[in-house]
Amino acid sequence: MSGKLKTGLKKVVTFFSSAGPPADPEVLEESFRSHYRGFRALLTANNSALDLMAGMERALTRGRPFGMAFVRGQCTALTVNVYKMIHSLQEISDGKYQGLSPAFEEISGKIEEILARQPEVPPGEHVLPLSHISKEDADAVGEKLANLGEVHNRAGLEIPAGFAITAAATQYFMHSTGLQDEINRLLKTVDLDDLEQLYTTSARIQHLISAAPLPADLERQIMDSYQSLTSADGKKPLISMRSSATEEDGSGASFAGQYRTQLNISEDSILETYKEIVASKYGSQAIIYRHQRGFRHQDVIMCVGCMVMVDAAVSGVMFSRSPRDPSSSLVEINAAPGLGRRVVEGIVDTDYYQVYREAPTESSHQGPGKVGGHLTPEKQRELAGIAISLEEHFGVPQDIEWSIEESGKIIILQSRPLAQLSQEDTVFIQAADAQGKDLLIRAGLSVSRGTAFGAIFKVHSNVDLLEFPKGAVLVVEHPIPEWASLMNRAAAVVSETGHAATHLAIVAREFGVPAIFGMEHGMELLENGMAVTVDADSCCIYRGKREEVLTRSVPPPNLMVGSPIYHILEEIMTLVVPLNLTDPTSPFFKPSQCETLHDLTRFCHEKAVDQMFTFGKVSGFAAKSAKQLVGESPFQWWVLDLDDGFRQGFDVKQKYVSWDDIVSEPMKAIWDGMTIKPWQGPPPVSVKGFGSILFRSTMNPSLDPAVRASLGNRNFFLISRNFCNLSMRLGYHFTLAEAYLGELLTENYVSFQFKGGAADRSRRFIRVYLLRDILERYGFRVEVKLDALTARIEKQPKEYLIERLKVLGYLLIHTRQIDMVMGDQSMVDRYRRMIIGDLDEIVKPNSIGGE
């Protein structure tokens, strides 16, 4: 685009310079009108750009999920608006600012580059034996398998024999199918709120992948690796095939149970199963999960672990620390006879053990099994010892899947960081709170803390799932991983079976959704549509809304932080938001110093105002020259009418304008604010404060507040009926206020910029903070960088904005000499109280405190 932009701008420049200086008033009038059109277009683009920047910043802090479509869309719209501003400025300045296009090209080019960046897949082997894998291989085989390799090869524990089919293999397969473009197209059009559509699309994509042929050499490599697992007696083992996606676990996102795991796979179905697991990347809950957690689809590549089936007598899951109470010194173990899968899916009732870390001989047991359960005290201790050693090895608490063979040997199947250890430090609410006639059930285990209100919705099957309304309380028999696709819709989860180690519990904790599992008879006792309050802290469900319980609810966690898409937006923001050009009088206020899109908007805006203000003077056109305002004011003001800011019939050839001639609403509002309270003269000053200002004045005499003569021509209003731009350089302060009050709500705004001051740095900061506090009180969105402040309000009704303009008018007058008292905190507080007292009289009380 760079070349084109240059040509585009050049055309504009040529047009204007060849037009020559007009002399005829009609030509001048037309020329001014065209300048004014450009100026308005620039202001519109400026507002859109600032609005988009604010939206991007909100996305980072608000925690709601956003995808690449959002990031790309915002970036596109933003660069388009900045381009429009540059284009408009070049139009009204006769192409004066050539440096803008290279600066813009550089910044937008960098943004495009970030947007286009793809995750790198390390080239390498298609299959790797588990015995060759360690933690560092996470990019090649996924975090899950890398950790498992580490468990064996470095921590010295038993794992099943097996091999990994790597990310490189999956990339090779997917590339050979040529399906990726079609898959991306299908994903782009899917609406994640429409579960039915999502299910159809997900099924279609998975079918496409499963039906595609594997490259012959990859088939051979996989089958050769399988043959190497043949036991000494020539028996071909059954294997388990487990998904292990890159980016899984490592980023703080659990991906628990999102992808497929298949057990008891025989030789003839290995290849089909491999493709199914690769396809499970596009399972509906996995698609939703990635969206919620800020992953692009390409950030996740499916690897598959193929491991000899363990002949398990007992299996389970253990946590090296309690996921609900990280400070506790207990290892928690869930165990059930047979394979471990039913434990993580919460389908079977399990033995639950707590083993003291410091004294492993002491443990407690609850569960349906025989007395003491399925684990002997020795095995409990041995398992707890393993949990502690793995926590030490990996450096963070672990969530571990294990099996015990008939021979008694413990085999580790998975070890990963324990998800979401620290929920808010809410105090566990005990029985005292759980009273009252509205109590419906009190039972089960708190697997994810918090409270919520919603209507009961029971889900038996995928069909019910499609009907699940946003904000309902999900009630199920078993907490199987498929229900995870409802975690962005459910207010709370209740399950008849299950425990803290199930995948659904992990995902519920991650999403901050309160959950009670093991609540027997939940499906019977709770009726569809019944409005209930769920208190997962004390495992109680109440009929109706219990406000005193709900006050304990905590805001949901920001799931986007740290995700790949979050990082992309964060990196782009460094090219967007920081404002380096804050002082228009600085020698560095020039195009080549623009490092961000915000700098460019600031530069264009400033220069456009200059161009408009000086139009009359430069062209010698009296009608569009600034008029001096006549009236009572301590300062000299010049006013330039852009369009219809003076009353009809005003003689435009005059050099002066009186207050009665002005019909600009925003200007009147600012003026009202300026004059609403008389300025009571400079405040009493401590010797030190005054001294510091005098000192700076000596160093730079042009900043002396007493030097009035040089100030006059710096205070001006550009106006139309709906618009006002005020630039002021009073003493040491540079101030700019601007507003548009029109018919389209979306076009309305008030903005304010403030910079500089006479006092030393710390005093200037105190003043900027004082201004920030006051402006925020009246609903402005404020940003402060060093001693520069910018504040905005947009898209509000005219009346609301008029009040804010009065606030600005007041502040312009009444904070201007506060510098001198800024060293004295008690004086600052006194001024703050006085200012807020005055302003609360101007602004309607119900609109104080935000928009």
Binding site: M1, R72, C75, T79, V80, Y83
Partner: protein
């Protein structure tokens, strides 16, 4: 809004569902709406009847939206044109503006946003024509 008479909008888009729905909704908001499913039909309408603002999809079956825009600009340099696209790209956005589009927005565009853009483009065009 200076709407003593209706603003005339031409929608050019090959997604006929979208086209129909948007046309109906704009008509309900008081616009006079014409539709075309490809560029050639769009250009024919422009040649025959007065239009204030064109909303032009970037991907059209018979011609690239940018080429279509250039065709429009040959005869009607000051007609308001808003480009629409389903695929956001900084490069594409800038190319549209360089080719003389008045604005550029992403699908799906909420109706309120589209209306606002139409109003602004129309107003800017009118302020270009009218005497001051």
């Amino acid at each position: 809004m200076e709407t003593s008479e209706k603003i005339r909008v031409l929608l050019v888009d090959d997604e006929t569902d979208y086209l129909e729905i948007t046309a109906k909704r704009l008509a309900r908001r008081g616009y006079e709406v014409a539709t075309a499913a490809d560029c050639r039909t769009g250009l024919a309408i422009l040649a025959d009847s007065p239009v204030d603002v064109v909303v032009l999809d970037l991907m059209l079956p018979d011609m690239d939206g940018n080429e279509c825009l250039q065709e429009i600009r040959k005869d009607q340099p000051s007609l308001g044109v808003i480009m629409l696209t389903g695929h956001a790209s900084v490069h594409t956005g800038l190319t549209c503006l360089e080719n003389g589009a008045n604005d550029y927005c992403l699908k799906p565009v909420p109706l309120d946003e589209l209306v606002e853009k139409i109003e602004i483009v129309y107003r800017d065009m009118r302020s270009g024509e009218k005497k001051c």
